[in-house]
Symmetry: C2
Subunit: 337 residues, 2 copies
């Protein structure tokens, strides 16, 4: 903790976030779900998805774009497909309901998919992946956002940052979870470079004319490249299709054109799938088998399992709380009234 | 066609491949399935998966590792999960059977998964993705192989080249399909650079001590990097888990240690999933909706849809046949006896 930070417990963060949301148009059940996600992000060191997002959450409640009294509904479409209508609310409440049903369907059918629509997603995906892993299920999720990433070879942002997340449950510990954007670098890191006057490495982005540049200001006005060239671009396209046309929700470019630009998240969808390995494999050796792979990964110096960094932050935060920027804290308290 | 090539029709390629396989221990039904895959690869300009593979296919038949008389069996595990036992044969016959059942299950349940086990996969994945797209289904597939790719930050090859493939059916034309390895560069391209005495770009691979190098000979003895740094490495790990522990088959490192090194493919598995968009979305507008995205991608100069290059080759090959290296042709004819 430095002079510019204030130490808060996780329950203090959650209560503050809930109070802020309830002072701005959320009812208790919606505020509760969102504030659990915010507290989890702070707990895991993912500050970009934590309290920092509250001004955006509040803006979209105040503008009326997002329904703070949403009552999401879960519809069973077939043996292995659920559709959750978010009632124009924030995603967390819809996901708390949807992931329970998804888990049940996956345990019955072996694999199941969830189409989350009519919602506003402003959080990371590892949170709902962990909810599936807690049910002993392998899971995958993706969502699009506003255009930020070039299609390979192109000149203009078309794809969202489009995270793809995956999780594998472990009987003896935390699940192995990755949650990675399709952009080669997070927009937040580009903003940081701009504010510190640093140039970017080659291959991060292009200027508004579509020309490669290492100037972070130009990239912020232009677009980011996908990770790994055309391969990351293919992943970004797949995410657009799964979280868009497949589930009957909008693409990133449609989300942006319909958005009221209030600073909160645009309307969008999320595609999730859950798999019960007990149905796929030959017996129940899948968990111990996977440990052999994890052991091989960790046996190489310099490697780590996806998710490890978050779990290290989590262990500390559960004991010691989280140091929150005092400036941010004042801003949030002001929003809470 | 140059002096060193011979022009063959696609049916000539298919017949030659079938004759070669049948002269070396395949029965007609297994040889037919493999030779269709080989002819499709030549047709689409994917020569690395075409006739070039026949010496490897033959070697594993001759060594007895692969069962040329395999009778794959399809088992329904639950409403949405199928398990196909390949009976120690090559994958194509098992996939011809499995993808039909997978399509039926996906149309019933909305989404379905296929666990292909006890098989030897030596071909590309776009072939089976196209079989699902032909049924009007969205599909994903992945398979592992022998270790070739470093886990991010590590020093030794652990992951296979581990392709991930995805396809989206289009009513008015060929499906959009990508099929991409987790390695930043194909091993074949590294071999080409070595044979031509060229150095590699930075960031392709490491030497046997795990040190970065641009020497293709050193990379061939060492390992390739995953595409896009740790993000591609996460994808490669996911592929190991899905095509390994999830379905009860071996990881790349296990496949290598059990293989008899006869030059043919090791034993392995494949994970596939198929989704019927009619169950997920809100009505049947999913196809026309996707066209809006494809239109936006193609509206940018310099872009292309995944799969386009193959379809261009296909159109030419269907009219004109394929120019096959005369040296390769002689080799294959010799193998056919």
């Amino acid at each position: 903790m430095t002079a510019n930070t204030t130490l808060l417990s996780l329950s203090e963060i959650e209560s503050l976030a809930a109070a802020c949301l309830m002072a701005n148009g959320c009812d208790e059940i919606n505020a509760g779900a969102v504030s659990r996600v915010i507290a989890a992000a702070e707990r895991d060191g993912c500050h970009a998805h934590g309290l920092m997002r509250l001004p955006g959450y509040v803006a979209a409640l105040r503008s009326g774009k997002v329904n703070g009294h949403a009552r999401p509904t879960v519809h069973s479409q077939s043996a292995a497909v659920l559709r959750v209508d978010g009632d124009r609310g924030y995603a967390p409440l819809a996901l708390e309901l949807g992931t329970q049903s998804l888990g049940g369907a996956a345990k019955q059918a072996g694999i199941a998919a969830l189409a989350l629509v009519n919602t506003h997603h402003f959080a990371a995906l590892w949170y709902e992946i962990e909810m599936m892993a807690a049910q002993g299920l392998v899971a995958m999720a993706c969502t699009s956002y506003k255009p930020a990433v070039l299609p390979a070879g192109g000149t203009r942002a078309l794809y969202g940052t489009n995270p793809l997340a995956f999780g594998w449950p472990r009987s003896g510990g935390q699940p192995v979870v990755f949650d990675q954007a399709s952009a080669v670098m997070a927009r937040g890191e580009v903003m940081l470079a701009a504010s510190e006057g640093r140039t970017l490495p080659e291959g991060v982005g292009v200027d508004p004319q579509g020309q490669p540049t290492t100037d972070p200001q130009a990239v912020l006005k232009g677009a980011l490249l996908a990770f790994g060239g055309y391969k990351g671009s293919s992943i970004a396209m797949m995410v657009e299709l799964l979280a868009g046309a497949l589930i009957g929700e909008c693409f990133s470019f449609e989300a942006a054109s319909r958005d009221n630009e209030d600073g909160g998240p645009p309307r969008g969808g999320e595609f999730m799938l859950a798999i019960d390995p007990a149905h796929l494999g030959d017996g129940d050796g899948w968990q111990s088998h996977a440990e052999l792979l994890f052991g091989e990964i960790c046996a190489q110096q310099g490697t780590r399992l996806p998710g490890e960094r978050r779990y290290r932050h989590r262990a500390v935060a559960l004991q010691e709380g989280v140091a929150v920027s005092t400036g941010l804290l004042e801003k949030v308290r002001a929003l809470a009234g």
